[in-house]
Amino acid sequence: MKKVFSSADEALNGVLKDGMTIAAGGFGLCGIPENLIAAIKNSGVKELTIASNNAGVDDFGLGLLLQDRQVKKMISSYVGENDLFMQQYLAGELEIEFNPQGTLAERLRAGGAGIPGFYTATGVGTKIAEGKETKEFDGKTYVLERGLRADLAIVKAWKGDAQGNLTYRKTAMNFNPECATAGKITIAEVEEIVPVGSLDKMQIHTPGVYVQRIFAANHEKRIEQRTTRAA
């Protein structure tokens, strides 16, 4: 059961299908699977539904998939950094399902954990709860949200091993562990593949059972808001 692949293209071989649902890790441009996104763009696959907190920027991250109109629908909490997204959305060419950020994270976690539905107070009394079931617990109203699984999850980790064990770095972790659990197939790109046994066993944020394919690649790691203080 060889999990290690040599490139994004090789790792995606036989996996992509028009109309599939993809869960993508990352927050803004931080911790995004940038090599997999680029390879998905080059593959020409279409009609994608993508669950990702954000939609990248016009020329980087998931924004790349908008250039050739490969995305049918986004499930996101915030897409404000992407002009192309707005144009396509306002032109009716792109569907958006807004999920509160915590609800999106929990939906992916629940999907991966075999939980088809859970109740949250988030969004009760707002547009987000319209058309959804609500229920009272101890006198307070909660809305039923569904677990979310994806045909494919693409995630970016710091280091990984041949067993698929992954460890993340700082806030580049974000949605990646949740996406990894929600994919029927999960592909991880890492900065470095290390020998099995060299990751700290108490710090394997994503155990290998969740990862079917893994490859190492370079990462540009573009910064969206470079803010500094005087030295």
Binding site: L29, S77, G102, V124, K170, E178, T227
Partner: protein, 210 residues
């Protein structure tokens, strides 16, 4: 003399208690961290997966893997811990964060909050705001008392789509501090030289009590 942005942030810092875990929204709320009393042990949560957010980095310290929920580069502290998004919102939704200070477009006299969407305009999304207002123990809003057209942003009923229903505890505007209480908004404090009459004139929401 009404408060300016920094006055409002300084006033909001009085909402902090020693030992608090706090989530600050984008914009004026971010300024609150400049006014934390020195002897207070305050921990800032950033909902993208960080507890114990430090100041902006120097040019040399910039790390692309270390940003806040506004996607700005930040730094870590000795106390910092990192975790995934579902764990971050478990913390928020589960009521473990003491206080969140956020901006707003509108607040109603029953504590409804609208701060994520203007129909007909570009819709960017709610990000983590709906989870914060539903889960955090206490919600304090900082915003101008009136919009650019001079209309009250403290309303009987919000006209914009809600971020949360009955979620706001306190509002700090350039004119004063207001609590959401039974029957409307109660004036807690007025900015210097601001009178109750001025507040009543400039507020659509019901002002209760003295």
């Amino acid at each position: 003399m009404p408060w300016d942005r920094n006055d409002m942030a300084a006033r909001a810092a009085q909402e902090l208690e020693d030992g608090f875990y706090v989530n600050l929204g984008i914009g004026i709320p971010t300024l609150v961290s400049n006014y934390v009393p020195e002897d207070y042990d305050i921990t800032l949560q950033s909902e993208n997966g960080m507890l114990g957010m430090g100041p902006f980095p120097t040019e040399e310290e910039i790390d692309a893997d270390l940003i806040n929920a506004g996607k700005q580069t930040v730094t870590e502290l000795d106390r910092t811990s990192y975790f995934s998004s579902s764990q971050s919102f478990a913390m928020i939704r589960g009521g473990h964060i003491n206080l969140s200070i956020l901006g707003a477009m509108e607040v109603s006299e029953t504590g409804d909050l609208a701060n994520w969407m203007i129909p007909g305009r570009l819709v960017k999304g709610m990000g983590g705001a709906m989870d914060l207002v539903a889960g955090v123990q206490r919600i304090v809003i900082i915003m101008d008392h009136a919009n650019k057209a001079g209309e009250s942003k403290l309303l009987k009923k919000c006209s914009l789509p809600l971020t949360g229903q009955g979620v706001v505890d306190r509002i700090i505007t350039n004119l004063g501090v207001f609590d959401v209480v039974e029957g409307g908004l109660k004036v807690i404090e007025l900015a210097p030289e601001v009178t109750m009459e001025e507040v009543r004139n400039k507020t659509e929401a019901t002002i209760v009590g003295s």
